[in-house]
Each structure stands twice: as C-alpha cells, then as structure tokens.
C-alpha cells in the first residue's frame, strides 16, 4: 500500500504524525521519516451519519489507530462492528473527492 509519512525525532525518539517543524517533546528539528508498520490497534471511533458537503454517504466509520511502531493516525474503518482495542490491517483507498480529484488516505479492515 501507499503510506503516510510519519516522523521520528532523532534526539528523543518521539513519534509524530502529522509533521511538526519542532519535536513535540524535546523541540528538536532533526527527524527520520518513517512509515506505519505492523497491525493497527483501534483507540477510538465514531459512526458518522451527517457527513460534510462532498461526501454522499451515511454511516462512515472513522477511527484513530495506533500502529505497532507507535504511529497514530485517523482513517476510515471498514469494519461492521468496530470495538476499541481490536486489531486492524491498514489499506490505502480514495477517501474523498476534492476539486474533481480522488484523494487517497488510510483505511482499515479487520486483521
């Protein structure tokens, strides 16, 4: 899959996503680019019935996950009955159309 780019602080090891110009923990400016690795654990989620302009669907599940290498990210959860703590596998799919262009992002299915 295509992946998001996360950042590991070369001074203190803090993992960050999205990008910051200074480390959230030690304010360092030197980072290693990393990708999410392994399975993802569902931290929290919601089932959204009222989606914004441009997304013509109901019941999209959105959730925050934590990967095995501690990268945390939001994505679309393609699971019928999500549960906090469940293990997921990451995918990469169109999540929205903006200006006529498909925008790709993280999606998750049951491990």
């Amino acid at each position: 899959m295509n992946k998001i780019t996360a950042y590991k602080c070369n001074n203190c090891g803090q993992i960050m996503y999205p990008h910051h110009f200074r480390c959230l923990s030690c304010y360092g400016r030197d980072f290693e680019e990393i990708n999410p690795e392994g399975k993802a654990k569902l931290i929290t989620y919601t089932v959204v019935n009222e989606l914004p302009w441009g997304i013509d669907e109901r019941g999209r599940v959105l959730g925050v996950v934590k990967f095995d290498n501690n990268v945390k990210a939001l994505g679309v959860i393609n699971v019928d009955k999500p549960k906090i703590g469940m293990k997921l596998i990451a995918g990469w799919e169109p999540v929205r159309v903006i200006g006529g262009q498909k925008v790709y992002g993280l999606s998750f299915s049951k491990a």
């Binding site: 996503y17 919601t46 019935n49 959730g63 999540v95």
Partner: protein, 394 residues
Amino acid sequence: MRPVVVSGVGMIPFERRDEDSLVDMMAMAGLRAMDDAGLGDRPVDSVYVGNMASGLFNHQVSVASALVDRLSLMPAAADRVENGPASGGSAVKNGFLAVASGFNDVVLVIGGEKMREVIGPRATDIVACMTHPLAEYIYGVTLPAMAGMFTRLYMEKYGVTRKHLTEVAVKNQENGLLNPYAHIQMKITMEGTLTHPQAHVNNPVVADPIHLYDCCPVSDGAAAVLLTTEEIAKELSKPSVYIAGVGQATDTHTLQERSDPTELKAVQIASQKAFEMAELTPQDIDVAELHDAFTILEIAESEQAGFFPLGEGGKAVDAGETRIGGSLPINPSGGLKARGHPVGATGVAQVVELVWQLRNEAGEHQVEDASKGFSLNFGGFGNNVLAFVLRREG
C-alpha cells in the same frame, strides 16, 4: 496592568436571521452595547471583531473595516480576530489587553457569525476546515465526529452515560426557554430523547455516540461588549463588572497526538491562568458559562476547569448541582446548546451573559446573588481555549 471594566453589553437574539447581513447583525449588537453603557458620542478607540469564516459563509472579508463604517466609528482602529470557535473569546482578550496596557481607553468588542446563509452540509464542511487538512479533513471528519470519538473515550474512562449527556441537553434547553436571546425555544424530555423505545426517531445518531440533541444548533447572531478603564466606567451609567482574570492555552492540532485524548490540557491551563490572575478559585464562582457545543463538553470542561473532580461532572448534572438554583449553575443562558453557536459570537455572548448575571439583569434565568462568574470558549477540538473570570464591584 490597569483594571478593565465591562461598561456595556449587547446582543441580538440568536436564530436564523435571513433578513440581516453579518455586518448588520454585528452593528446592531454593537449599538446595544454602546447604548447600554450610556456612551453617547464619546469616541471608541478600537474595535475588535470576533469572526471565524465570513469569507466562506458570506463571501465577505474585511468585516471589521465594514463594521466601523456602518457604525460611523471612524477613525477607530479596527481588526478582525479569527481563532476558530474561540474567535469571540480571542477578540475579548485583545480588547482587554488594549485597555489593560494603556493603549486604549474605550474598546468595542463584537463577535458575530452568519452561518445559515449556506445549507447544512456546506456549513458542516466549512466548520470542518479547522481540522488538519491531511491527517483529518480528507477523511470527512466533522466536529460532531471529533466529539463522538472523544465521548466514547470519556464514557469508557470516567463512566459518563447517555443519561448524563441527555440530562445536560434537557437542562440547557429548559434554561433556553427562560432566555429570550436563545435560538432553541423548545422543551425536551428524557423520555422523548432517551428512554422511550422510539426516542431514536426524535433524537437520531449524528456521530455515534453523539445524537442530535447532544449538538448545538447552527445559528446566526452577534454579541458585543464595551470595555473601558475604571475611571471612564465611573462616568458611565452601569455598575462596574471587571474582567478579573484571562487565560489562554493551546494543545495539539489533532486529537490523536495527545498522550491521553480525554485530557483537555488547554482547558486546564487556560482556566488555571484565569483563576490565578483573578486571585480566585473555582469554589469562588457563582455561575459558569461553558462551551457546550456538544453535551460531553459541558461535563468534561466542568471537571477540567476545576469545578468538579474528574469523573464527577456527570454525577453533578444528575444531582441537579448545575441547574439554576444548584450549587454551581452552568449555562443558565441555555449555553451553546440552546442559545445557539454563531461561532465567532459565542465567546462574546458568554461574557455578555455573565455581565447580565453579575448585574442581576438576567431576568427569568437569573442566578441568585451572583457576584463572580467564569466563562470558557473552546476552539477547534480543544486546541485553543480561552477562559475568563468576571467579578462585580463590591
């Protein structure tokens, strides 16, 4: 710093206002604040306008310049202050600093938003523009979705229940019935929104576990405060209510990067700073206006601002402690839930409500013997928060 007095306040009713432009609404609120103070023809030094998204909602920018023209306040300085849902609070803070620093003697702060000019899903999208463009917005995240994810964690960690959330909604809509400025003038019941087998028809899921009546409405409206020095306040007509404490703090843009997403650090720090400046504690406060854009936020803020221990906010609602007449009335105005949430107006409207309460001018929703008040204006999903402590003279 010099003491800063709220010498005049004014609001227009929050509702759907098809006939009035954004600048019209703000001008009406501003005039009411000037007249409330008895300002007459005395000049205003500066105008701060709290507004989040006039360019997107109303296709108009430079609204502060338009507003001073509409009110013939030239050559007063004029600035628009944009800080998401905390735009109003940030505008009040800027006005406070202008007077406290000695830069200005008379400052008019006006917050306004006209959101009903666009259809609902478009308004939802405009508000969602405050989320992170790549890490959140592209997925279709909305503010109710953020609240849904937060609520699920808060319920699991602290035992908040749907009953607690619905009790906040019922209370605040009851309070709104007593406030002629409130957008939602409708009583709801626990049965109709929670316990009846068909309650989900009235109160459908918006972003699970958030239901319709857990959310504030989308409103048009404006509110204004006139801030002056102590000396000028004594020459004007109203009893002095001081801005005794101001606090502001920020947190990470995304919820996911907080080590504990249930911890609202910006709420905690902004509140502490406001109390420290005022040399007061949460126990000294008689009335609070909290940012209940979603019912969970009233409970979480009441705990994290220091009024109740963590995990006790829901129980306090259940016990009636936060009702008018309770040990700490919260949102006697109806809050964002019933008064409405024209985004840039809210932080100013909270201060207007506190001034009415502390002057004993709040009418049917008056809190008895209130002399110290607290307000909290919550920007983003807790990433930029302002807190104010107000105190009546004497």
